[in-house]
Symmetry: C2
Subunit: 462 residues, 2 copies
């Protein structure tokens, strides 16, 4: 990789950036390291400097300087990416926008909000509390909204409220040319030319740096209920999830945990759930509709052999279960000291879900790998988490072969290797398999058109 570094340009750009930013250009080793591989098992490829930007105009200046010297620009929000998006394989400048964290305007009449990219989803929801509105996309991590848009994030609520693709109404970005572009107006729909918002959402920082977002909000639900059911096998749980979707029950969340995953949350959170595949649901609505929906779910679940079916509007009981679910990744990892987590992120048509999750569980067992499956099953999206001893090359090899096998399985089922994490560095080799050379070439044509110098987050996606 070192041969790809433009040493001369980097030296010149860093000098110009130091003049521009003063102490907000950081070159210390530990800070640079923190802006590298972050939460992934990928090698840390640290940037040459971290530029802490405070305004769109400043981002513009930074990009112009980097463009003039053909130096890579790597946007950075909170670093919760799981696929190496913030690594700097060719060096360059990490542009940290976490200081651009203002909620600029809340418009209750239009149910939208304009924010800077460093605002996190939890910070936004805290600000919205008194408005009767909330921002519903919930990827688990307290990610920055700019980063969530850049990776087309979603999570547990996508089944009801959509993904970032559905929730970003418009955005402002600094393009590789240094030009500032607004992708759309605040109209709820438009047929005015190419969908630049949709193009930027999910572009993983390879087309520009998002400097402002206008997001669609949702009304805070009048009431919330939770439901839980244990199933005799994975197939029965997934089939129930599929039927919930077909009946158009407006579930707000519908999470699956396989037996191993239930075991981990039982141990970490002392839940005492039956050791069997589980569905965990949340409903948002009027008190009357909650009862109707919860009962309809209970009936479907029992018809598929579920036991322990219960539902409740008690916030304590519900909170305990969802906290355990959200803490799954970290608490399961804590039960495997010294190991790293390999995450997967396949998404398949819902009618293929039961077969794919059943096969995934069997494959883990066949390979003797410690791991668990959890899923946002209303969307057909599930994650296997494998706990790997980094000092054991054989185990690492097995885990890598599992990941490859699973991605191939999803692609064979007309699914995707990534439902919500993005391609980054980790899934580059699966993208072409999934989409074919023509689609990849079309993406490359877009990239070349907008970033002819290839300075925006190079080495990602393609």
């Amino acid at each position: 990789m070192l041969s790809l570094r433009n040493e001369e340009g980097i030296t010149a750009a860093l000098a110009a950036l130091a003049d521009l930013l003063g102490p907000r250009l950081a070159t210390g080793q530990s800070l640079r390291e923190q802006h590298g591989h972050t939460t992934t098992w990928l090698e840390n490829q640290i940037p040459d400097a971290v530029a802490f930007a405070q305004s769109t105009a400043e981002v513009q200046e930074i990009v112009r300087i980097c463009a003039a010297h053909r130096v890579p620009v790597i946007p950075f929000g909170t670093g919760t990416s799981l696929e190496g998006h913030v690594n700097a394989p060719m060096g360059g400048v990490s542009v940290d926008v976490s200081g651009m964290d203002k909620v600029l305007e809340i418009r209750p009449g239009d149910m939208d909000v304009t924010v800077q990219p460093g605002v996190t989803r939890e910070a936004l929801n805290t600000e919205l509390r008194a408005t009767g509105l909330f921002f519903p996309v919930d990827p688990g991590a307290n990610a920055s909204l700019g980063g969530m848009a850049a990776t087309r994030a979603s999570g547990t609520t996508a089944v009801r409220y959509g993904t970032m693709r559905d929730r970003v109404l418009a955005l402002e970005a600094v393009l590789p040319s240094g030009e500032v572009v607004r992708s759309a107006t605040r109209a709820r729909k438009s047929s005015a030319g190419y969908d630049l918002t949709g193009l930027m959402v999910g572009s993983e920082g390879t087309l520009g740096i998002i400097t402002e977002l206008t997001l669609r909000l949702a009304p805070q639900p009048e009431a919330i209920s939770g439901a839980v059911a244990s199933f005799p096998d994975i197939h029965a749980a997934c089939l129930t999830a599929q039927e919930v979707i077909q009946l158009a029950l407006p579930v707000a969340r519908m999470e699956f945990l396989d037996e191993a995953a239930v075991g981990y949350v039982n141990r970490s959170h002392d839940l005492g759930l039956p050791g069997a595949p589980l569905l965990l649901l949340e409903f948002h609505g009027s008190p009357g509709s909650l009862a109707e929906q919860s009962e309809a779910f209970a009936e479907l679940a029992r018809d598929n052999g579920a036991t322990g079916v219960s539902w409740s509007t008690d916030p304590d009981e519900r909170g305990r279960l969802w906290r355990a679910r959200h803490a799954f990744y970290l608490s399961a990892l804590a039960l495997h000291p010294g190991r790293v987590g390999f995450s997967t992120d396949v998404c398949v048509p819902v009618s293929h879900l039961a077969d794919c999750v059943t096969a995934a569980r069997a494959k883990l067992d066949e390979l003797g790998l410690p791991g668990a499956n959890i899923g946002h099953v209303g969307d057909g999206n599930f994650h296997t988490l494998v706990f790997v001893d980094p000092a054991d090359p054989q185990m690492r090899g097995l885990a890598e072969s599992y990941v490859a096998w699973l991605n191939d399985l999803a692609i064979a089922h007309d699914g995707t290797c990534t439902g919500e994490h993005g391609i980054g560095q980790g899934k580059m080799k699966y993208l072409e398999k999934e989409r074919g050379p023509g689609a990849l070439e079309m993406m490359r044509a877009v990239k070349r058109g907008i970033d002819p110098l290839n300075i925006m987050n190079p080495g990602k996606i393609f």
Copy 2:
């Protein structure tokens, strides 16, 4: 415009296409005329030939021949475009895909369907009748699904079921290079690279020809109710619509008609509605939820001074009102013999709607133009229809100045000049005003990257 024609290339391409297609390459004057301006007031710019394609492979061959001779390719579905999308300003070949009209696969388990681009929305819904599912996007006209995707169409149901942007899960397209590309898999969500589906939806045939679509379906509603309310003024009607959205009432349709529009439907369909601004709603749900929703609407409407508020699940009564609404354009035109309709399509943030519609009505009256306003007001989208005597240049000038004034008004309110019709030829001059030069240049960069020879529907959008 004639100087832009590549006569030599056109002659050579037509010869090669005649060899390929035989009698399915039509060069007769009247057929070519029918493939020109269609439903618009724009000048008819007829193509040099119409190629009736029957398969993706054939579209591919047609595009390759045209690319080799640098001849424009203009995709054609049913010709219901309102903005001159199918005109041939530089000549070239209209590629008519109306014969590619097969529903290829219905998958009830995944609630999706794969169709050829010439399938119309009514034909699709006829095929779906027995499945318990339907395709909900309803632009009024019985358009082809390929054309609806190409213009990012929506209509009366977008407030509940979204636009084509939300309903196209994946598509196949022939690019200007002749390459066939699939934009996505059938997974309900994906973060795998750029959103090529979103890029093609709304690209108006300027990036490729859509040859197949996979669409998201919705469950047929258990029950349907309709509601109607007359308001003392435009402001009260629009405010009620805004409150419906803020309360998150899941209306399936919510249409506004101003007093003039009500007058037209009264005359054409003998409805006897009060001569006042009207809201016409439809609810989809369980019988219990319909009553709850309809009553909630009635309360909001009465609080805003509405009279004649009623709701009903009677299909005859509901059908009569909605048929009148859907026939509005044609029946209002029939009341103005010899005139042509100028349509507008602005969309603004819902909190700006009341002011914008009120101003639009006042401006029509001030200019003395015969016209009416109707709107998909849940989305902030409304259309003024102006009835213009084509032989009266002064009236035409007034109508054009009205259109310009309205588009500027919407843009000043952070809205768009087109909510659902597209830019085509008719709104090119407003696109840059709306999005700014940077966004337009970004669109052009995408266009150049994918269609460097500018053969795909040239002279549209840009």
